[in-house]
Symmetry: C2
Subunit: 257 residues, 2 copies
């Protein structure tokens, strides 16, 4: 039994908020050939959603990303795809100037190849506001996200951060933190649950990273998280596990919970 289990957002058939969490496979490729190869592997694994972590691409430019994006969509013609171009300090692959990043994200969204875009809240609304506008004009939903690769903030901070995302009009709120001890995983669960109860219509994606946080990738949906990331060919963050194993464990919980 999930808290408030009712579909709240459907993207290309993928239901956020339903009785089971969506499985998202990230693609982290340096060039179009390996992006296409990873996409083919991902497709064979039947994820619900695919994320292109474009910051790991060698050439970060409007043109290169549009071409690679078209090749990706050619392979994953029916999957919802998230476009994500993270800055280094948000867990991205390399340093990228904010102006370049914003311009590339907007150019890519204008192609209408993508269904969702993930932008970090702490870039500020001056950064994500225009991106959100372009996204909506071109049929994409906005995930506002928060990442902490060092630690897990207090429950109140986590809740406040997600509330801030909702206030800024996020279609989906996402939080990923690193636990230092098992209690940090419980804090992440608690903040997720409280936020889910406060904003039942806003899908949430939350996880506790690393080995200590593995239970959040498996059981987070029981405390209000709507999507979990799993490895297809290559992980994009610490603690992600292969999709087949994750799916089997989630199936078990769904069967009995």
């Amino acid at each position: 039994m999930r808290p408030c289990a009712q579909p709240t957002l459907t993207v290309r058939g993928a239901e956020f908020g339903g009785p089971r969490p969506l499985l998202c496979v990230p693609l982290v490729a340096a060039d179009t050939a390996s992006l296409v190869e990873q996409a083919q592997v991902a497709r064979s694994l039947s994820p619900d959603v695919v994320e292109w972590r474009a910051d790991s691409f060698d050439e970060i430019s409007d043109d290169a990303m549009r071409r690679a994006g078209a090749a990706l969509r050619g392979v994953l013609d029916t999957h919802p795809i998230i476009f994500t171009l993270r800055a280094k300090e948000e867990g991205g692959a390399k340093p990228l100037a904010p102006d370049l990043r914003s311009a590339v994200i907007q150019a890519v969204l204008r192609t209408r190849l993508f269904d969702l875009v993930d932008v970090e809240l702490f870039n500020g609304s001056g950064f994500f506001g225009p991106i959100a506008d372009v996204a909506r004009q071109h049929g994409a939903r906005v995930i506002l996200s928060f990442h902490d690769f060092q630690a897990t903030p207090a429950v109140e901070i986590l809740q406040g951060t997600m509330a801030e995302m909702v206030r800024h009009g996020a279609d989906i709120a996402k939080v990923a933190c690193m636990p230092r001890e098992p209690g940090d995983v419980l804090r992440l669960f608690q903040a997720t649950l409280t936020t889910r109860q406060a904003y039942p219509a806003v899908p949430l994606i939350t996880m506790s990273m690393g080995q200590l946080g593995v239970s959040s990738r498996v059981a987070g949906f029981l405390f209000g998280s709507d999507m979990t990331f799993a490895v297809g060919q290559k992980a994009s963050a610490p603690g992600q596990i292969p999709i087949a194993d994750l799916r089997a464990m989630i199936d078990g919980l769904v069967r009995y919970a």
Copy 2:
């Protein structure tokens, strides 16, 4: 990574406190024939521990229990076995006068057929004190337990209850509560974790019952619980799931956590 993962108690080879939780299958039989049959099924499922929930037996007497116990030990010659004769209000199968219950438990322990005995804390030390003395004189360990089939008390109450068990010399402290909402499961996890950190040498068995609590049966060991109950042939409490499914999910968590 479990909190404080280090074996703290070994009973017939079953290590409490190690890197993975022990799997215990309960036997709930009305007569010796079905007890033996359930024990054979249980043995084929390779649990780490077996519990005989003797309160479901038709004939509750010294003599009947000693004979059934011997038959049980004949089937499970190497497994650690818990002897449990619960009162109705502790989740037992039927009303039993305290004097009869105490006399039968002590008589059974004197046979040295059992490795562990489970007694509810709230029977009071006048009840469990003499049982604990007899247990120790006859090579058995004492589990002091607390059950709430209606609700989950506050974290402080749960912690205080387990601390009370430790103060009374429990070899193992056990708490099973019914959650009413997902936050109750998190409270059970939090109380387990805090108690595990406060008393690292005392094995704990904690669970949140029913469908809502299923994650505690699977992932409770990541927050400090050392044993989880799984169905062999018949469940003894709400929310227990078949041992093969539970083992597969725990294997997954152990592999990646």
